[in-house]
Amino acid sequence: MAAARRLKRVAASQPGFLTLKPSSEPADLVGSRRKRVNKNKKKNWNKFSDIADVEEFLEDVRHQERTTGGLLSEKSDDTLFFVDLGQSEKPEQKAEEPDEGKKRKGKASRPLRIDLILQHDSHIPPPKDVLAYQQPNAKKLRRIAQKAEQLAARGVVPRRQKRLLNRRPIDRTVNKAVTEANNNPDRGYYNLWGQESKDSADPWYLQQTGKKLVKRPEKLNEKPSVLPAVEVIAPGGSYNPDFFSHQVLLQEAHNVEVKKKKQEDRLEKQLAVNKEDRATEETALREVVEGLIEEEDDEVGAPNSKEDDEAAVAAIAVTEKKTERQRKKEKAEKIKEQQRLSSRRQNAQQQQLFQLRSIKTSIKQQEQKTKKKQVQRKAQQEAQKAQPRRLGKLKFQTPDLDIQLSDELAGSLRQLKPEGSILKDRFKSLQKRNLIEPRERAK
């Protein structure tokens, strides 16, 4: 390297050498009056020698190397110049086609021109990023790794690794939530009623720590309805029923339908309009014209109104003051009236003695009435218990009877067409027994 540098210096000091940078004024080349310095001392070698030209040259060389990848003088002619031959003629092109094919392949194998231009061709490699290679604690880590390797070679397993190996492998195949769910089809059952309660701890302790289960109030054990859970269908509902039981069932269904029809008819009657009340053209015209025809009506109206006025005046007649005589009379009459009433009352009381029998009978009748009413009320209450309660916005709708008409009855099980749906029947039964409130699908 030093030899190369020396060569470059020597080359630079030749008088004919041209630098890239235009040199400074030619005046510098002419020697100017300088102060005489002793250059033999080491101290003065650096101080007083002018190496600017050399430095310049070297700088130029470095520049060339950096940018164009090497000294320009050392580059071949091909890299710097090309001969412009102009557009080549066609027959030559055709002749060259087979060659061009090969050339194309060769061109394809060769890198693109633009890539070549963009390649960095300086001789100076890019600087290394030292920080990227720096690792804090590298030595320490290396030492630890080596030690671990040695231990492993010897067979000693450190404690942490031992614990990791001992840990059981997780069973990833079975979903924990699925196995513990209440409706897991493979869930197990045990003897629920055979176990004794855990009386191990003090009841106070259990209560305070929240482990004791709260006692269920007795009232909740009563069933909300006296109806049985599963009601047997009447014998007429059999798939091959007896004639009379089927008729009985049909009769019931018929009654239900008759009731419905009656209700509809009643509604229609209420809404019905009398035919005579309907407006005809005549009445409409009269209505429109009312009040507009004035001739006869006034004469008839006038004498009537006069009579009314007179009567009204008479009614507002002036009331005169009452005289003393009148007041005394009134008092005397009042007293008489009171006396009469009291004597009547006394008489009635005395006569009651003789009316004992009839009084007794009337009392008995009243008692009988009240008893009858009591019995009736109790019977009604009992009947009410069997009815579904009103538990919400909607009323309970009794489901339709599941029967088949006489011509729908099938002779054999195979031809039986099923009626109704058990799901619906169960839902209605739950409502009937007051377990849930009647619900309808939201619209």
Binding site: K176, L413, R414
Partner: protein, 555 residues
């Protein structure tokens, strides 16, 4: 003096009830969760007697719960599980929305679940209490086991219900506990689902009932000394081994399907070779209870004979008959049953087996007929079970109009109309043979009887006419007094007459009021009898009309 003024609706019934929304807010649950909790714990809304008081003056229809019930609900540990589930759903939705699939997996793995065992124990503290509610539970489980596994309800629930119902049926078969069978018009449908039923409510009920039924099954199996969960007897299992088991069901389900076929017996904990007949405990006879004891013994013997109704008989079910219910019924009474291989897993013998005694068919005719077996319609099985004896097979041959299928749950009281078919069955039960009926003989008998009657009547009438003529003519009747014959006294008749006499005396001695009541009662009874007679007359007329038609057809 002084004191605070009494305000309305501050005490009494108004404070005992709480509306549904208030209760929900107190528990801090959403409405579906609140409903589910109430159903699980068995807390139902109440209708207060004085609605206006409770509703603070208004009559708007509201749902009311008792306040004490809601306070009791606050102590329930499942409530916190419901809240956890709500949070789980929220987190899951968020993870889905952000497409964080690892989070989704992790959350799904740790989904919060709850168990209902403590609730079942609390609601049914003893086994007997649980048995009281078992019919409702069975209904629901059977219903759910028939649902299609589409995903509208949890598929797991449907599977669990199927398993429990199969276990129950196997228990009934093993214990021969079936008594009455009836088949109604509302048959189980497999493909029709009404839309106005709230599935969530039904599913909640089913949740509770599956838990209950599972525990009850466990207890029942152990009381019968059977292994739970049920396993097929090792002998029977080897019989059932087939080559193409994969054709029927998936491997996981094939064991359940074999069990559900009900064709083989279950394994026992302590294996016994034969079933020993349970001997009745003999209590020392006490005078008054002798009759009762005898009656109980008689009943027990009847039951024993009834349990072995189909023992020794071999049945084969054709393809078109309802297999499950028939197999269940037959097996419950000791019979052996099988079906075609293509129908279901678990068929033990083929149609070509020579030892089959009865083949159940529902078609108008069958191609190949074996000689030593009876071809009958399925109603025969049910009617035999209800009548507790083996009915004559001729009424149930193919193509014959079946006798009506009577309901076994109807108990006729005296004086009610009893259909003639039932009378026939009762006669058979007593051991009398109904007269060997061919229709011609019947007709002939009837005609003869009618003629006889007519003749007798005519003879009597003539006699009377003669006597009257003689009287009118003033002649003394040629009636002589002959020494009387001693009639042999029938002691039974005498006794009856005595009792009737006593009854009449008692009636005469009643007070007016009592007599009035008695007359009313008798009137009611007589009315019933009259109606029954009317119905019988109608039936007779109907039968006569039919006979007349047949006669005409014959001519």
């Amino acid at each position: 003096m002084g004191g605070l003024p009494k305000k309305k609706f501050e005490r009494g019934s108004a404070t005992n009830y709480i509306t549904r929304n208030r209760a929900r807010k107190k528990l801090m649950l959403s409405l579906p969760d609140f409903r589910r909790l109430c159903i699980l714990k068995g807390i139902y809304p109440h209708e207060p007697k004085h609605k206006k008081k409770v509703n603070k003056g208004s009559t708007a229809p509201r749902t009311f719960y008792l306040l004490k019930d809601i306070r009791f609900l606050l102590h329930e540990p499942i409530v916190s599980k419901f809240r956890e589930y709500k949070i789980f759903v929220r987190k899951l939705k968020r993870a889905y929305g952000k497409t964080e699939w690892s989070d989704v997996e992790r959350l799904k793995d740790n989904k919060p679940t709850y168990k209902l065992d403590h609730i079942v124990k609390e609601r049914y503290p003893t086994f007997i209490d649980a048995l009281r509610d078992i019919d409702d539970a069975l209904c629901m489980c059977f219903l759910f086991s028939t649902f299609a596994r589409t995903g509208k309800c949890h598929v797991q629930t449907i599977q669990l219900c199927r398993r429990l119902t199969v276990e129950w049926m196997n228990y009934v078969v093993a214990s021969r506990a079936l008594r009455k069978v009836s088949s109604f018009v509302t048959w189980i449908q497999y493909d029709f689902h009404p839309t106005d039923v709230d599935y969530r409510v039904m599913a909640t009920f089913t949740e509770l009932y599956t838990t209950l039924l599972g525990f009850v099954n466990f207890r029942l199996y152990h009381s019968l000394n059977l292994v739970y969960p049920p396993k097929l007897d090792s002998k029977a299992e080897s019989e059932l081994k087939e080559e193409h088991e994969d054709d029927y069901a998936m491997n996981s389900e094939s064991y359940l399907e074999k069990l559900s076929a009900l064709s083989s017996s279950l394994a026992r904990v302590v294996s016994t070779d034969e079933e020993e007949e349970a001997k009745l405990d003999e209590f020392p006879a006490e005078g008054e209870d002798m009759e009762q004891m005898e009656a109980i013994e008689k009943e027990q013997k009847q039951l024993e004979t009834q349990k072995k109704l189909f023992e020794g008989l071999k049945f084969f079910l054709n393809r078109e008959v309802p297999r499950e219910s028939l197999a269940f019924t037959i097996r419950c009474f000791g019979g052996r049953v099988s079906w075609d291989k293509s129908v279901c897993i678990g068929s033990t013998y083929d149609m070509t087996d020579e030892t089959i005694t009865h083949q159940i068919v529902d078609r108008p005719n069958v191609d190949k007929q074996y000689i030593n077996r009876d071809y009958i319609q399925p109603q025969w099985v049910y009617d035999c079970v209800n009548a507790k004896i083996l009915l004559p097979v001729e009424d149930y041959f193919l193509g014959v109009t079946l006798p009506p299928h009577l309901s076994p749950f109807v108990e006729e009281k005296e004086g009610d109309y009893v259909p003639p078919e039932k009378l026939k069955i009762m006669a058979l039960q007593r051991g009398e043979k109904p007269g060997a009926d061919e229709e011609d003989e019947e007709d002939e008998d009837e005609e003869e009887e009618e003629d006889n009657d007519d003749d007798e009547e005519e003879a009597e009438e003539e006699n009377l006419k003669q006597m009257e003529e003689q009287r009118s003519q003033g002649k003394s009747l040629q009636v002589k007094v002959t020494p009387g014959k001693v009639k042999a006294d029938n002691p039974a008749r005498l006794k009856e007459e005595e009792m009737a006499e006593e009854k009449r005396l008692a009636i005469m001695m009643m007070k007016k009021k009592e007599k009035y009541l008695y007359d009313k009662i008798m009137f009611g009874k007589k009315r019933k009898i009259r109606e029954a007679n009317k119905l019988a007359a109608k039936r007779k007329a109907h039968d006569d009309a039919e006979k007349g038609k047949k006669k005409k057809a014959r001519k």
